[in-house]
Amino acid sequence: MSDDPMSDGTANGEAVAAEFPEPAHRFASLTLVPKADEKLATKDFKSDQEVRWCPGCGDYAILAAFQSFLPELEIPRENLVIISGIGCSSRLPYYVNSYGMHSIHGRAPAIATGLASSRPDLSVWVITGDGDALSIGGNHLIHALRRNVNIKILLFNNRIYGLTKGQYSPTSEQGKVTKSTPFGSLDTPFNPVSLAIGAEAGFVARTIDSDRKHLTSVLRAAADHKGTAFVEIYQNCPIYNDDAFAPVTEPGERDQRLIRLEQAQPIRFGADRSQGLRFGRYGALEAVPVAGSDPDSLLVHNAEETDPSYAFALSRLDSSDFAHTPIGVFRNVERPSYDELMSAQIDTARQQQGDGDLAELLAGADTWQVG
């Protein structure tokens, strides 16, 4: 961007984007973002700030996976913006060498919405946590999802408040004993994936901090979605909620419990992939042995199914003992993004009414002359 402010009311984003040719293959969310002149490496996305999470925190693994994924975007560093709220996870922008804002508690989706809808030439990522996104910022999250701005939301879910030293969070299991709930928490937790699907999200996925390969593949899928992408990342807090996700992270254990969703593949899980899923009587999914089941009743994963009922049913397989925990992309359905529609309305208005004439606007329809 030049140091001159934009010429007139046009969004500077549009002006900048026009200078770069459309690349051959791009992630769908980046079609209006310029392509990098040179290949960037993981180190290019590391800032000079010392990373200050607790030893063993799952955030380290997520940061490392994220930083090594970022070169795949093939965009200039200056066109990447990371906006976060408040909480342990929300410190992440400081550690990535891009533009970033560590904002206020719960409000990152709102700030990112204003930025992304006025600057389509930027790739905007929101980093948030279970308290930030689902408690104090719940309203902004659900509205960002239904609005479908072109932002990628990574929710680090450790099912606890870490930065305030260990109170239960909106994803903590009921009965959780913490400093603020010495007799056990009373509220029913949110299931973030169910919530996102209920909030009309077009892209909803879940992954795990310790599974770098899976995490990276989900980031890739999120970047390839134009509109709001929502990714829940199970993240271990070794200090206040250690091993909260052990059933799905411990080798051996996890393979019994995780349902790895792969587009257009039959859903298979459990020992020797002997289990499958089918719809029960009232629309809930149930796990059944593949052997002996009617093959037509067993589900093949389709995240692109427009109706959200299937993705929602998948999300409801979760239970407190993690007996069946799907990970991967639950839902991936494109619709026009908010920023795109907003720009289109401006273009239409200019086509139909001409570029705004300030003198004409100020004068209005009823004027009179004095002298």
Binding site: M1, S2, D3, D4, P5, M6, S7, D8, G9, T10, A11, N12, V16, S47, Q49, P76, R77, E78, I83, Y94, Y99, G100, M101, S103, I104, R107, P109, A110, I111, A112, T113, G114, L115, A116, S117, S118, R119, D121, L122, N139, H140, I142, M342, Q345, I346, A349, R350, G356, L358, A359, L361, L362, A363, G364, D366, T367, W368, Q369, V370, G371
Partner: protein
């Protein structure tokens, strides 16, 4: 029949009726006719928050007052010369304001036993002699309208609804208003419904003819055009002027306008106006809440846009944290607070000035921001441009304190030429790129290295190579912007942020004092929408031989540099405010000089007569 024409220099008319009677529309149209005719004018719409309060009740009364004159006027007037009362409730709610001898036009059709009982009249005041001291014109407005519309293919209900047009036609005749504008307006408004259009035009014409031919009115009045400064004029409300000012600022700065806003009375019209202006590249987002509105605006500012949010008091409370963030990350942000009566929900459609201290101080920590306030509806335009100038030059949030009276009130506005608007493009620069040359990177970018003169930090916009940086609400180290918990650094940053705002005082117009012969010992100092009432009161005092000076503040944070000297050069300073003395508190604290605080918090502008009495009292006690 030729009727006598009587010359008047000024008239105050109040249209009053049920919320559904179309009084605001009738008032608006009469105002537009009056503006086109060339009178100076000032308006005061006054309506309940309920969209349709129970019909015929006192809480449901909606009114529109218009003051117009053959000379320059400043207020919508204290007491109406003419009251149009569409029902008993409208009469009862407004009669006390009408001076003896005033004209009352009452719609007799609505003075039924039931309607009278609803507002506690035992007998009809139109018949029991209680209005003998007034010029009563009892007219069956509803039934004459319905009769005039016989033969139109419309329902009886639609015919009855046209009674406001009948009343408007009658008043238009009475004051000899030009009617083309109203007829044109009706054609646009009812373009899709030809029968309703024809009926409304006919009702309007019937009202005019009624005045001309019946003997109910023996005199027609004439108020000559006012000798306004030469130029092209239009009538404009504060909210529209504010919206246009923001668009003008966008054009003059080259910054695309982004409005994040949640609907709230009396601010929503700014959102409505800006939403129409997409051809100016304006992006408007109706947010999920007040916090999101200001958050999105801040995001747009971070991206190099002109981020704006609009709200009223309750919304200001919710936006406080984000305004604090904007003050901390030092980005431009425009917050329009169209004040209304509080606390809490208060009286949403009534005016007040009680958000001043909240605007200046209402955030955690030391979080100084600039605060400006328009003085009149049209002044909202200039104030918006001034707010944007300060915001982009100093990279700071600027709060504009308008209010319900300015928002909905209107006045003639001399349309400025575009060349006369401030060149905001010259007031700021984005930080320029920092690209490696021959493999050698430039010096590291310092996001909190300040401009020596303005103390503004660089506005480094995403997309600019080499300026990648992180900002946030955590305290930043001076110059580098890295997270810092260093005690001395915090002390320094707190002072730097304050010094930046204080420094704006050297870059704003000094407060001007109107003291015609320099003999006054009393100064009346106001801010915001009280300008008109104070000005009218000062004129009255001067006409009566009193000496009084007047000054009005546009800048509330920081104050103009000469304000202390001005305060000290008068024996008494009177500060009228529609709050309990918020500016007075600031002046006493800041300048250690006492002021006389005069406060009424009735949800309405001051009456000029009331303020004139207060000024006379202060003069008498010097």
């Amino acid at each position: 029949m030729t009727k006598q024409v009587q010359q008047l220099d000024r008239v105050i008319i109040r249209f009053a009726g049920d919320s559904g009677d179309g009084m605001q529309l009738a008032g608006d149209r009469f105002t537009q006719e009056t503006a086109t005719f060339g009178n100076d004018l000032s308006t005061l719409p006054n309506f309940p928050a309920e969209i349709r309060a129970p019909a015929g009740t006192l809480p449901g009364v909606s009114s529109f007052q218009l003051h117009f004159a053959d000379h320059d006027i400043l207020t919508p007037g204290d007491a109406p010369d003419v009251l149009v009362a569409m029902n008993p409730a409208a009469l009862k709610a407004n009669l006390a304001d009408v001076p003896r001898g005033g004209d009352i036009i009452a719609n007799t059709d609505e003075f039924t036993k039931r309607n009278l009982a609803k507002v506690g009249y035992d007998a009809s005041p139109l018949e029991d002699g209680s209005l003998d001291a007034y010029q009563l014109h009892a007219i069956p407005l509803t039934s004459v309208t319905v009769k005039a519309l016989e033969g139109f293919d419309i329902t009886r209900k639609d015919a009855e609804r046209a009674k406001n047009m009948f009343a408007l036609g009658l008043l238009s005749w009475l004051y000899n208003r030009p009617v083309d504008g109203t007829l044109k307006y009706l054609e646009t408004r009812f373009a899709a419904r030809p029968e309703i259009l024809a009926a409304n035009k006919a009702a309007f014409q019937a009202g005019w003819n009624y005045g001309e031919t019946t003997e109910a009115f023996s005199v027609q009045y004439e108020v000559k055009p006012a000798p306004l400064k030469p130029g092209k004029y239009r009538n404009i409300t504060g909210n529209v002027a504010l919206a246009y000012g923001l668009v003008a600022a966008s054009r003059r700065s080259g910054l695309p306008l982004f409005l994040g806003s949640y609907p709230i009375t009396p601010a929503s019209d700014v959102l409505h106006e800006l939403s129409k202006l997409k051809r100016f590249g304006v992006r408007t987002m109706q947010a999920e809440d007040e916090i999101s509105g200001v958050g999105a605006a801040l995001g747009a500012s971070f991206g190099g846009g002109l981020g704006v949010t609009t709200t009223s008091g309750p919304g200001m409370c919710l936006k406080a944290e984000t305004i604090g963030l904007a003050a901390s990350v030092e980005l431009p942000l425009i917050i329009c607070d169209i004040q209304r009566a509080g606390p809490s929900t208060g009286m949403p459609t009534k005016t007040e000035q009680a958000d001043l201290l909240m605007a200046i101080f209402g955030r955690n920590g030391e979080s100084p921001v600039a605060v400006v306030a328009p003085a009149t509806p049209a002044d909202c335009f200039d104030t918006a441009l001034e707010a944007v100038r300060i915001a982009v030059k100093y990279r700071t949030p600027v709060i504009i304190l308008s209010d319900g009276y300015l928002a909905n009130g209107s006045e003639p506005w001399r349309i400025p030429s575009l060349d006369a608007l401030p060149k905001l493009r010259d007031e700021f620069k984005f930080a320029s790129g920092n690209v490696a040359v021959d493999g050698k990177a430039g010096p590291p970018f310092l996001p909190f290295a300040r401009d020596q003169k303005t103390l503004a930090r660089p506005w480094a916009v995403p997309g600019t190579p080499g300026l990648e940086h992180r900002i946030g609400g955590i305290e930043k180290a001076d110059i580098t912007g890295s997270i810092s918990y260093d005690p001395d650094n915090h002390d320094k940053m707190v002072r730097l942020r304050q010094a930046k705002i204080d420094g704006i005082a050297a870059d704003i117009a000094p407060v001007e004092v109107d003291d015609p012969d320099g003999s006054a010992k009393v100064l009346v100092l106001g801010w915001g929408s009280t300008y008109g009432s104070i000005g009218a009161a000062v004129r009255r005092v001067r006409l009566a031989g009193g000496a009084v000076a007047q000054a009005h503040l546009r800048h509330l944070s920081p104050f103009p540099a000469n304000l202390g000297d001005v305060l000290r050069s008068y024996e008494k300073v009177l500060v009228p405010e529609i709050n309990l003395g918020q500016l007075a508190l600031l002046l006493r604290g800041r300048y250690l000089t006492d002021v006389v605080s005069y406060n009424r918090v009735r949800g309405l502008p001051f009456r000029a007569s009331e303020l004139a009495d207060v000024i006379q009292d202060v003069i008498a006690n010097v």
